[in-house]
Amino acid sequence: MDTFQDTVFKLKRYWADRGAIIQEPYDVEVGAGTMCPETFLRVLGPKPYRVAYVQPSRRPADGRYGENPNRLYKHQQLQVILKPTPDDVIDQYLGSLKAIGIDLSKHDIKFEEDNWESPTLGAWGIGWQVMLDGMEITQFTYFQQCGGIDLDLAPAELTYGLDRLVAFLQNVESVYDIEWAPGVKYSEVRLAEELQFSVYNFEAANVDRLWRLLSEYEAECKELLAQYEKYPEKRRFPVLATYDQVLKCSHLFNLLDARGAISVTERVGVIKRIRDLAVGTAKLWVAQQGAA
């Protein structure tokens, strides 16, 4: 039986063999692998790109103090971007399942409609959730728009939910029972984190300060966005740093949401504030690429 890390190695190897750059996780908090610049920015524009990386993704509201066997504050995604999409993308994807030991002739695979959408990022795509014996194991999306911009190529995005996929492969009922490395359980690696961040996200985080931080990061982002136009040497403009501010805002929004601090009425407004930043940054990135 493969450990959690064995499965990760195999998937990375598989996609590396198909021309993907193997990136490391991004170091700013994100709610999904899609938000990393390696996806959000790289899917824009006409330049082909293939990349795969594991991204620990933080969703404060999904935390369960480590008590729920399947729900996690932070889960591990394997994110693959194929730009442009190869014609045999689904066969390649199914090949990756074989590569991690799933004998497809003995299982039931279905592609069920699920169109991914992120209002905060002004991004959406068309695709499926891939069901393996009744369990969703992958989100498969043909990106159509990102940062409010129609994409030149429609890249395929494959997002594997590693925790539940490996729980399935190892036939354990709780993700905490996954064998991460030989002799080391998932719980030893991550349980404390789940518990403590659930406490922080639901109980300890200072709501007033979170709101202030959100405003501060937003201000930083806006200030940067406003400078591009007059920037003498476009190449040096810190669009990547600008995007980090967007990610900070998005994470703060998620924290405030988990604290129950955002009313339904406010919600739409705050999402729009962040989307405006994301859209602005995406535009500058495309402009900068064109200027280079």
Binding site: R71, P84, S105, D108, E113, Q144, D152, N171, E173, V264
Partner: protein, 636 residues
Amino acid sequence: MSLDFLLEIGTEEIPHWMIPGALAQLSKLDLLGAAPSVDATPRRLVVRAKGLPERTPDAEQIVKGPPITAGDKAAEGFAKKQGADASALRKAGNYYELVKSVPGRAVREILAESLPIAILGIQWPKSMYWTDRNGPRFIRPVRWLVALLGDQVIPFEIAGLKSGNVTRGHRQLGASSIPVTIATYESELRKNGVILGAHDRRHKIETEAAALGAKLDRELVETLTYITEFPTAIKGGFDPAYLELPAEVLTTVMRHHQKYFSVEGMQGALAPNFVAVMNTSGDPDGLVKHGNERVLKARFNDARFFWNVDQQKKLADRVDDLAKVTFQAKLGSYKEKTDRVVAVVKELGGNEHAQRAALLAKCDLTTEMVKEFTDLQGVVGGLYAKAQGEPEAVSRAIYEHYQPLSMEDSIPETSEGRILALADKLDTLRSCFSIGMIPTGSKDPFALRRAAQGVVKILVEGAMEYRLDALAQGELHAFLLERAQYYFREVRGFKYDEVNAVLKVGVSTLRDVEVRLNHVARVRPTPNFEPLAASFKRINNILKQAGFTRGVVDIGMLEAGPEKELHEAYWSLAAFGPLEDVAELRPYIDRFFDTVMVNAPDPKVRENRLSMLSDMLQKFSSIADFSEIVTSGDQK
């Protein structure tokens, strides 16, 4: 020679609910007179037809030229422009004309041009591009194309993909490259794990699932039919301890989240089993069964967790939390809605249980269970109210208050449930109308038509005696009337003119409308009715022409014979109340018109006769305006 036709559009998995709509469009494909028959799986849309011509026939086209008076120059110019010699022109009346022969074309050539346009012309609820931004759009990427006319490929291209004669089998059960002919197509697919006909897949699902004890439901069968290429049913089980959870929650998890059929045991109670439908031929090692059981267990665990968490705060303690849940931006929170609904329940004379139910009805929107299973709003509230010791009448009313969800759905069973359902919908309608949110055309974001139909259905089928004009005024009143018309026609099957006739004379309660409609529908087939309706129309016209509204009948002035007899007849009929036997009047009316002249020379006699006719019309018009009934003599 006539040829057969095959088109297979090979795609990645199409959303199941969009397939029937696409097939309806493909069934209208122009195949030069041949009738298309269509089939589909999630990965292929197929059109087949027999008896296409090989070529279209040669034809002649007449092109009109200049007037003869325009002279030879003009004629020559016209001929040249048409690529003909002036000697080929002929005279037709005052003009020249040219008969051009249009040679027939190979049908294969015509289809090679028309098919790509037809394929990309299919309308989808949502489409995508997959090559680049300027590439073609379809529901999902097109990956192969089979297009055959007889034994020849109809050559065309979509998104750089050339049509051919090679199909693909089931992803796991078949080969990925299978050359076919029209004759071998379906059997080759079958050998490669694809059951092409939806009917055959549906039948396989139904028989296998039923044999495993599944409680079949049509919607789920349809979904599974179009989500699989080779459906096979398997049975799984779960720990009976989960049966402590309400059946509604368990079946929602199974049906909506997992697409499983539930299984019923003795006396219709849920059994600790489910039936799943795989998209493959078997489960030799039981891995699929095991996997599905594992997923279901996790889902049920979640549901149990939500149930337990939710019980920590009673519905009654959640009323104030509704202030944080928006109903509609301009209309405020669900707390405000709750206050309004409570007031409407009081207005409708609801008892204390109905009022209590109104107060608690929306509280389940703040529960974890409803956040997870939104379809169960109301149902969860009802179940929680029961578990928390609310009176039966209160919990039942909450449970039922979203009913009827459609025209087919039944109305709430309890009187408290009916009043609450009515009040909730009325409040939504009144509030939305008050801020100008009125449905137009296809725009109805708040599903106000459904709410109004619910109101109509509850009022009629609940035999509720509320005057419609007391419940709604102005535009909302008109909107409800329009929905009532729709309901009586489309759901209850009354004819449109009957509905018009009954509504024309006014509406007190919808229940009364129903009673009167039943009368009209009952007397309508009797032989004298339609001629009588025609007579009523005639009377209406006479009164209109005379500009007569109303007068008092002087019985002493009535002439003996047909006039007096008619008067006696309608008085005695009217005395028995509703005109069950209105048709019996017919011979009296006929005789009256045959022998009596309404426009008598003596103005007093004339006025008395008009008075009698209007009096009669008035008496029978409390049921319906019979002049609205379309009789065989009328224009449609």
